[in-house]
């Protein structure tokens, strides 16, 4: 089993995860990367999507919003706007947001609204994707 290291995932509202993990996989603008113990210190942006955590030899998936990841010698910190376990996701709300923002994106709106809606849509879709995979695994 790979060596565990200290992993922290924090949002402005709560500390989502703080403890030992053996690996973490996130989406970066260039694709997925996995960080294991002893990784080179680095800072990378993180895209909206999912995060995979390996805790005690078991991989778990959670929804992860945009942010960045800082890999240090002693610990790895992911700083993000939101992070949720699939069971905590409000599927109905996410579906509602997805439909609403899709409709808004179809209409011609200002640049700012376009940007806000695009982020909201990406979040909603990532939330739904994470909950769906959970259902297929069962």
């Amino acid at each position: 089993m790979p060596t565990p290291y200290q992993l922290e995932i924090m949002t402005p509202e709560r500390s989502f995860f703080s403890g030992l993990a053996e690996g973490v996989t996130v989406n970066t603008p260039d694709g997925q990367i996995t960080v294991l113990a002893g990784h080179l210190p680095m800072v990378t942006p993180v895209n909206i999507g999912s995060v995979m955590l390996s805790i005690g030899g078991q991989w778990k998936e959670a929804f992860l919003s945009e942010g960045f990841m800082e890999v240090g010698h002693r610990r790895v910190v992911i700083v993000t706007q939101a992070c949720e376990w699939p069971e905590d996701i409000d599927v109905q709300r996410a579906e509602g947001v997805m439909l609403r923002t899709r409709e808004k994106l179809r209409q011609q709106t200002s640049v700012r609204e376009y940007r806000t809606n695009k982020i909201a849509l990406a979040r909603a879709m990532a939330r739904l994707r994470v909950t769906h995979t959970q259902q297929y695994n069962k």
Binding site: M10, P12, R14, T28, M42, F68, V79
Partner: protein
């Protein structure tokens, strides 16, 4: 008889007012308690973001970045956070005093600014009223936000601010709010949130030796991601601090109002008893004097 009735009516009125101030005291303390534990998470988040920003600012490869440039004759935007309601002691007026001084100085001849170079965004209804009353009409006013210091609201404000900055409508953005310190509303402060300077981060601990960090994306790209995170977190924190300060200030104001009402009630009850006794004595005197006739 006239006098006792009058006093009785006053006692009733003071009792009603006391009920209201007491209820407001309880509500304010419950609200303040609700938000205070949340502030800790955001503080840790902000510390982390600031540490990474500092790492990048210390790195020699960042070069010039739009979020760093400082213009000599800067157009400024002020975000003023105050309450939607009064009845909070000096909480609102302390914010306005600082904001008004800052803005007046900027608008004066010495500041070299005219009204077009300055935008004012009031967060809180009382701010809108105050500045309109002083002849400075806010460019934008956001009501209801101070009553709900949610991450969603903070994001909206941060996006708005970033938009203004990205479209070169403003060169500097300041936030005036009241930090919450040691269980009390602190002194209001004026903090520049954009552009960033290394000197803002002097008391932040960097995470790793800066030269040892690898950036798969250039520092400028990472920085582009970091600044919105920083803004959202800072504004979220400022909203929560203001909220906690407002409600603590209101709690104290209402506590002393309740105490004053209690004192007043004691005095009025005493007066009422004296007046009632006097009326009784007088009546007895009248009856006894009537017997002798």
């Amino acid at each position: 008889m006239q006098k006792t009735n009058e006093i009785r009516r006053r006692i009733g009125a003071v009792e009603e007012t006391r009920k209201i101030t007491n209820a407001m005291h309880l509500v304010a303390s419950a609200r303040a308690k609700k938000v205070i534990p949340k502030m800790e998470y955001n503080r840790r988040f902000l510390d982390q973001v600031q540490a990474v920003i500092k790492d990048i600012l210390l790195s020699p490869h960042l070069g010039d970045h739009p979020y760093l440039i400082k213009h000599p004759h800067a157009r400024r935007t002020y975000l003023v956070v105050s309450g939607d309601k009064g009845m909070a002691g000096s909480y609102n007026s302390a914010v306005f005093q600082l904001a008004y001084r800052e803005i007046r100085e900027k608008l004066s001849a010495r500041g070299g600014g005219n009204r077009q170079n300055l935008s004012l965004i009031t967060i809180g209804m009382t701010g809108d009223e105050f500045f309109r009353g002083h002849g400075i009409v806010p460019d934008e006013q956001l009501g209801g936000v101070t009553q709900d210091p949610s991450l969603h609201n903070a994001r909206q404000i941060a996006l708005d601010v970033l938009d203004r900055f990205d479209q070169k409508q403003t060169d500097q953005v300041f936030m005036i709010y009241t930090p919450y310190k040691n269980g009390m509303a602190g002194e209001p402060i004026c903090h520049r949130i954009l552009p960033l300077r290394l000197s803002d981060f002097l008391d932040v601990n960097e995470t790793e030796p800066p030269h040892a960090i690898h950036y798969p994306y250039s520092e400028a790209e990472v920085f582009q991601y970091l600044v919105p995170q920083y803004l959202v977190s800072y504004i979220f924190g400022a909203l929560m601090h203001s909220y906690a300060s407002e409600h603590t200030a209101r709690m104290l104001a209402m506590q002393s109002a309740t105490r004053n009402a209690d004192e007043m009630l004691n005095k009025l009850r005493m007066e009422y008893n004296l007046a009632r006794q006097a009326a009784v004595t007088q009546e007895i005197a009248e009856i006894t004097s009537a017997v002798f006739i």
